[in-house]
């Protein structure tokens, strides 16, 4: 849930990047970090294993600018994607304002994608959220690799409700900022509607 501080004139929101293991959640954040101006970002924290698999979370704070005199800050988090880290994923989802689901476009990862979306829905429900009601976008990552599932099929399986979706290649950065802007806008529009 966003934090509104009238005293310091700040609004802080939380975005969580979700998806199966090795789909590109951390890579998304790393690209955002590299390309964001120093004054607009804080330090990126990565709690990872020695083999650079996310263990608990990655965290990147971004300052997007001011709206109506209020500084707008977004905190980006990724969850660990490997199946057995489910307990940690539940914790990172607490207080979420918007979710980006990062799908791995490779054929052999289709089952993992589907399992991860279902896992997302269940974990959100446990926290009292409804995936169909919160700001949510989908990213089809790794569009540069061979053995791809078509976007139409990915959409059918992973985005049946038709939320905004984006093709991406997080290693080169294609689609990364488009995805981030879309989820940030959704969150801000939601905040506007909600009051």
């Amino acid at each position: 849930m966003s934090f509104i501080n009238y005293a310091s004139r700040e609004i802080n929101c939380k975005i969580v990047y979700y998806g199966p293991g090795l789909c590109g959640k951390t890579t998304n954040l790393q690209f955002v970090y590299q390309k964001t101006a120093p004054e607009a970002k804080g330090k990126m924290i990565s709690l990872a294993t020695e083999t650079e698999r996310t263990l608990f979370f990655d965290f990147l704070p971004l300052a997007l600018g001011e709206i109506r005199g209020f500084k707008t800050r977004f905190h980006l988090y990724t969850v660990p994607g490997q199946v057995f880290y489910d307990a940690s994923r539940k914790l990172i989802l607490k207080g979420v304002d918007g979710v980006v689901f990062v799908a791995d476009s490779q054929e052999e990862r289709m089952d993992a994608n589907i399992e991860s979306v279902e896992n997302l829905r269940i974990n959100l429900t446990e926290q009292g959220y409804d995936l169909d009601k919160i700001p949510y976008v989908v990213q089809y990552n790794k569009r540069d690799l061979p053995n791809l599932v078509s976007v139409e099929e990915l959409r059918r399986e992973l985005n049946p409700t038709g939320v905004p979706d984006f093709e991406a290649c997080a290693t080169t950065g294609e689609g990364v900022f488009e995805t981030l802007k879309a989820i940030a806008k959704q969150i801000l529009f939601d905040l506007k509607k909600g009051r």
């Binding site: 934090f3 704070p61 997007l64 600018g65 709206i67 707008t72 905190h75 307990a87 806008k185 009051r195």
Partner: protein, 163 residues
């Protein structure tokens, strides 16, 4: 159910700062932070410029979340107090009013016993203030009174953020 949105008003912000400034003096601490359980920094006092406060807030919340998970596994509701001992500096982390984390950093000029004693008293004062904040938010929402800054924003306002 998800926690209701945390809203901070001027008056309560000043009261909270007064409480933690008093705690800083009475506990002989170096720095004190108040962090929302979702990882947002609420306020701090003392030698705060020494630290990356955004990272500290996020990691503290992660720490509390992880140990909270552990607590539930062993049948406890949560671990309301955590203490991390360092070579020079120590961290005392406690949960206040069920949703705010109080972080006290102290060194050999203080002691765990003194910090625990002072934190207990300050926690009661902070809990009262946060209770009032919640009540205030709920009353404003019920009365339909909206000072909400985003009520009047336009699509262009949002688009301009990204240009």
């Amino acid at each position: 159910m998800a926690n209701p949105q945390l809203v901070m008003y001027d008056e309560e912000f000043k009261q909270i700062n007064a409480v933690i400034e008093k705690l800083l003096r009475e506990a002989n601490a170096k720095v004190i932070f108040l962090v929302d359980k979702n990882g947002q920094l609420i306020t701090g006092c003392g030698e705060t410029e020494r630290f990356d406060t955004t990272s500290l807030a996020s990691l503290t919340a992660g720490n509390i979340a992880a140990t909270g998970g552990l607590a539930k596994l062993i049948g406890e509701k949560e671990f309301s107090i955590l203490f991390h001992e360092g070579e020079k500096d120590n961290l005392h982390i406690s949960i206040v009013a069920g949703r705010v984390i109080l972080v006290v950093l102290f060194d050999s000029r203080s002691s765990l016993g003194l910090v625990r004693l002072r934190v207990k008293k300050s926690s009661e004062e902070l809990a009262t203030i946060f209770g009032r904040l919640l009540q205030k938010s709920e009353e404003k929402e019920k009365s339909g009174e909206s000072e909400f800054p985003f009520a009047e924003i336009t699509d262009d306002d949002i688009d301009n953020l990204f240009s």
